[in-house]
């Protein structure tokens, strides 16, 4: 199958990395080549030294987008999972691609402040971290993402299913049946039921 870029965008701690990794697992099970470009990891390597000014954020996203483009045109599913707060840069990255799927990982900022898995919101609210998206830096939500998942309302599984189903309907990934939805025992049970009704 052809490659494409799956781009997760959303506020800090909204669930981008969690969903990206779970979708990665599923796509690997279906025989696809996948690479996750996680925002936190990229900042340790590809974008080491970049800060959080608008200019640096834009550069960071352009770097991730460029690598994603190279991967996707070589039959890899490139999964970007970075806040990517500015619409214009996200759209610029989209325009580099033939196949681009944007997933808006949506959750109210108050809920995220409660979650605060990494303790970053607390530090940002205390003024210890500057330019923190959702506190003192803006986040511009996408206007027409291919998928919207609401992580304050859905379980991880529900959000992942929504994303995977969209990719199946777009024919970007094979259906689960190409491998199998079913264990061996389940297949035997299905076979038996089909035989009872003369369908096999």
């Amino acid at each position: 199958m052809k490659g494409f870029t799956l781009w997760f965008t959303g506020l800090p701690c909204s669930g981008k990395s969690t969903l990206a990794r779970r979708v990665e697992e599923i796509l690997l099970e279906r025989g696809m080549n996948v690479e996750v470009l996680d925002g936190d990891e990229v900042r340790e390597h590809l974008s080491k030294g970049l800060g959080y000014s608008k200019e640096d954020r834009d550069t960071n996203i352009r770097r991730i987008g460029y690598v994603a483009k190279l991967l996707s045109r070589n039959s890899v599913v490139a999964i970007g999972a970075a806040i990517s707060p500015y619409k214009a840069i996200r759209n610029e990255v989209r325009n580099w691609h033939e196949r681009f799927v944007e997933v808006y990982v949506k959750a109210p900022v108050d809920e995220l402040k409660e979650r605060d898995i990494k303790g970053m919101y607390k530090k940002a609210l205390a003024g210890e971290i500057k330019h923190f998206t959702g506190v003192d830096d803006p986040y511009e939500p996408p206007e027409n993402p291919e998928v919207i998942v609401e992580t304050d309302k859905e379980s991880v599984e529900e959000s992942v299913n929504k994303i995977v189903r969209t990719l199946e309907l777009m024919n970007y990934i094979p259906g689960a049946g190409a491998g199998s939805d079913y264990s061996e025992e389940e297949e035997e049970e299905i076979k038996a039921r089909l035989k009872d009704l003369g369908y096999i």
Binding site: G177, D181, A192
Partner: protein
């Protein structure tokens, strides 16, 4: 209660599916006074015979109904398919459906659907509304969206299907279980109806299909010990239809009430083994003496069949051992068409009524994933893709078999159905959606 949207009452549609009910049987039941409620409803609208998908089996037909697309678009060609790069069977699931469903379309307009016992929707996924999957669900925990309904189903003694292994050769058990299953579906429908807002309600009765497979003789033979049981079941189906219609009428004009089946049925006389036909005429060979499966197919083979009556050309590039070149496919299809049109059951009776080239019936991005030829048998010849049958014709295993034509569609509103045209199942969902102002 109708859903109000900014003060405008949302239109509602209610669909009752009767799996495997032939139009002529339904008409006969109404004429005989077995189905008076249904007869009264039908007299107010339009009942039409209908052709369905090819092949004429529930997984394909219901997939066409739930999407409004042909198999070349939705990607479901049977209960079985081959694993990619292999000759092993796989079992397409709801996740293999390649297009949106009509319930997704209703959801896009802000409406919600309640779908009860829809075949070919397993494992259940999120829809805007409620989905209870039907056949071939094997684990009810994975057959329901949202899962919060599992407790309600358990409380109402709901099961997906009768135990086909136990009912198949035990008519007493069959009729008893069919009745209990129908009652459970009614209880679940009643409970959801009152609690879940909806603009599209669909419930499918699959007991009719089981009844026909296992007890068709009881319908045709007046002296059969279970002849009256067969008709009693249809009385219960009639009561169910009447019950649903009454509920709909109490809260709505009920003008958007629909009935349909996904294929017809007739009595089975014999089974016919397509792969044996192909072997006998040199189109299919296997390694070893007695093939257990299609995996033993040789590279010299030019064609093979999958259930029920799908013929695939063994093409190079599509199958690992396939050697038929693309340039030879058209000629081979012609040869095979002539073969199937001429084959008889040994007593001079032709077996195949019609051969369809897939190009006549499949369009869309997935058309090339399906078979090249589809066979329609004469009534009574139940065609199978079994591998290794020693003879072309064998004894029937089941009493009834599916038919491609003689399904039916009923609409209370006569303006929805064009009486001058033959009706195909792929048109039906769009008529239903049009009735509630939902477009493609």
């Amino acid at each position: 209660m109708a859903i109000k949207l900014f003060g405008r009452k949302r239109k509602k549609a209610c669909v009752v599916g009767l799996d495997g009910v032939p139009c002529t049987l339904l008409q006969s039941m109404m004429e005989k006074g077995v189905m008076p409620r249904t007869a009264a409803i039908v007299s107010r609208g339009t009942l039409r015979p209908m052709t369905v998908t090819l092949p004429e089996i529930s997984s394909v037909s219901w997939s066409t109904f739930m999407t409004g697309k042909n198999p070349g678009e939705h990607g479901i060609f049977g209960f079985t398919d081959l694993k990619e790069g292999s000759y092993d069977l796989r079992f397409p699931s709801f996740r293999d459906l390649k297009t949106e469903t009509i319930w997704d379309l209703v959801g896009k307009t802000g409406g919600r659907s309640v779908v009860i016992n829809q075949p070919s929707t397993y494992p259940a996924r999120e829809i805007p509304g409620v989905l209870i999957s039907g056949f071939v669900s094997i684990d009810i925990d994975k057959a329901v969206y949202p899962k919060s309904y599992l407790a309600m189903l358990a409380r109402n003694g709901y099961t997906i299907d009768v135990d086909t292994a136990k009912c198949r050769d035990n008519p007493q058990r069959l009729f008893s279980d069919l009745g209990a299953l129908l009652e459970a579906r009614k209880r679940v429908l009643d409970e959801i109806w009152g609690t879940e807002p909806w603009s599209f309600m669909e419930v499918v009765l699959t007991g009719t299909d089981r009844l026909h497979h296992f007890a068709w003789d009881a319908y045709e033979d007046e002296s059969h010990p279970h002849h009256s049981d067969f008709f009693d079941y249809y009385r219960k189906v009639d009561a169910f239809i009447g019950h649903v219609f009454d509920k709909f009428q109490r809260e709505d004009s009920a003008e958007n009430f629909f009935l349909l089946s996904d294929h017809g049925f007739c009595g089975a006389k014999k089974e016919v083994y397509i792969n044996t036909i192909l072997q006998t005429h040199g189109y299919l060979t296997f390694d070893g003496a007695g093939p257990a499966s299609l995996s033993a197919i040789t590279g010299d083979s030019k064609a093979f069949a999958l259930d029920p009556a799908r013929v695939y050309i063994h093409q190079r590039g599509r199958y690992t051992k396939g050697r038929v070149e693309e340039k030879d496919v058209a000629g081979l299809k012609r040869e095979l068409t002539q073969l199937f049109e001429s084959v008889t059951d040994g007593s001079g009776q032709k077996i195949v009524r019609r051969v369809f080239d897939a190009a006549e019936v499949y369009t869309g991005p997935h058309a090339a994933e399906g078979p090249e030829l589809l066979l329609i048998p004469h009534n009574g010849y139940d065609m199978k893709g079994k591998v290794g049958a020693p003879f072309v014709v064998g004894e029937r295993r089941l009493q009834g078999m599916h038919t491609w034509d003689n399904a039916f569609f009923f609409a209370l509103r006569e303006d929805l159905v064009d009486p001058s045209k033959d009706l195909e199942i792929v048109e039906v969902p769009w008529m239903i959606l049009r009735s509630i102002d939902v477009g493609p």
